[in-house]
């Protein structure tokens, strides 16, 4: 297990990077997905159609292609992320990190949108009617009555979306981001005889993160069951 005794900092740093990718794109995906679903179920026809097309197109595109678009094509259109320069300890968050966050967010938000939409559809129509009957506007009805209940009903599918996101962060490896899989590749080269334990150790890292997310999802589900 030389790869761990000599390189446990590299191991932890790489998972710290994975975790940051997950947290930042996760939060942004939840925000963007909520906006998208508001468009899709809202009263404005143009936004409904636009939201529908966005979800259909982005969701149908392989994540690698979305990444490639922002890494290689977007700079030609003047979309660059060179201004991102954040350093935490020895870990650098630069334009590679920004591209990964943008690609993961745009991609994952479509799945968040659909998970939330399934939740919204599960809220009885009477809830919206009662909200409108006391004078709440569309925005008030959504934010006060529909979305809080939709979030509850969406916890299981949202957890699946976030778990998929955790593992999708590994696609960033192809585009030069030094996250966990990138580190795993380095270690399998440097410690060729220890490939099996290396793979298992990195798999374990992902399993731990997924486990924590599942734990919170289950906890939320139980917590909200009474209400």
């Amino acid at each position: 297990m030389d790869f761990l005794t000599n390189g446990h900092n590299a191991y932890l740093e790489s998972f710290f990077y994975t975790l940051m990718l997950f947290l930042v794109s996760g939060v942004l995906s939840l925000v963007l997905g909520t906006i998208l679903v508001a468009c899709r179920v809202g009263p404005v026809a143009v936004l409904r159609v636009a939201g529908g097309w966005y979800v259909t197109i982005v969701r149908s595109t392989p994540l690698v292609v979305v990444f490639a678009l922002f890494q290689f094509a977007a700079p030609m259109l003047g979309i660059r992320f060179g201004w991102v320069q954040i350093h935490i300890g020895t870990v650098d968050f630069t334009s590679f990190f920004a591209v990964a966050v943008v690609a993961l967010t745009l991609y994952t938000s479509t799945f968040v949108c659909e998970a939330l939409r399934s939740g919204i559809n599960s809220v009885p129509l009477g809830q919206a009617e009662a909200a409108r009957a006391i004078g709440l506007t569309f925005g008030g009805t959504m934010s006060q009555v529909i979305l809080p209940q939709a979030f509850r009903a969406s916890v299981p599918p949202l957890a699946s979306v976030l778990i998929a996101l955790i593992k999708n962060t590994s696609v960033a490896y192809i585009f030069g981001v030094g996250e966990a899989v990138a580190q795993m590749r380095i270690m399998t080269n440097n410690y060729a005889s220890e490939r099996v334990p290396i793979f298992l150790t990195f798999a374990a890292g992902y399993i731990v993160i997924v486990f924590v997310v599942s734990f919170f999802a289950n906890h939320l589900e139980k917590h909200w069951r009474t209400a």
């Binding site: 009263p43 009885p124 009477g126 809830q127 009617e129 009662a130 909200a131 409108r132 009957a133 006391i134 004078g135 709440l136 506007t137 008030g140 006060q144 009555v145 809080p148 209940q149 509850r152 909200w224 009474t226 209400a227």
Partner: protein
Amino acid sequence: MTAISSQAPTAAQGEPLVVLDHVEKWYGDLHVLQDINLSIKRGEVVVVIGPSGSGKSTLCRTINRLETIGSGTITLDGQALPQEGKALAGLRAEVGMVFQSFNLFAHKTILENVMLGPVKVRKSSKADAEKRATELLDRVGLAKHAPKYPSQLSGGQQQRVAIARALAMEPKVMLFDEPTSALDPEMIKEVLDVMVDLAKQGMTMVVVTHEMGFARTAADRVVFMADGQIVEEGTPEEFFTHAKSERARDFLGHILKH
């Protein structure tokens, strides 16, 4: 109608508060509301009865525009109903609605249910809203259930909370869309008692119901609907003892037999 000018937003006692004028509505080929003309005076309690599918619930729901209408006009306090947006939300705040299936906000406590409208729509302070909500819950006999969630209450209790929630907006008129139809028989009375109290206190009410007892005791006027039309209307006394139309006598014959 001509008595109300736009400068006088509040109709005096006895003047028309809700006026439906030549209202028509179609669901595809189904003509659900046919030339509905109905004027409801301030403080009046109007009970709408009729067989199912007669359009009485639809009529009730058009008054706060939960159902749109095909043609005709509906005015509240002299103002035509706005089409949509903020103006419509503002109108709905003036019209209390009680649903057959209660529709209490499932994720909020009883107290929060009653406070939501005053806080978010009327912009009352939380303290004022809570004080008022507690008074209203006390009035419907449920103050001690304030911290519970709707699913922890019986149907009758939930419906009383729904009435308190509507009253918290201090509406000009209250609409009841079959408020007791989803209740077990022993819970119907507790809801009707609250409604009778409300009627006595001078609330303007439109009540779609099958409760003939309530119609007899609390209604100023009974409107009988069948097949999308208002067939006849009159005082409860006239209607229940000397219904003019064959259709109404037939309906009463069916429901009063038991």
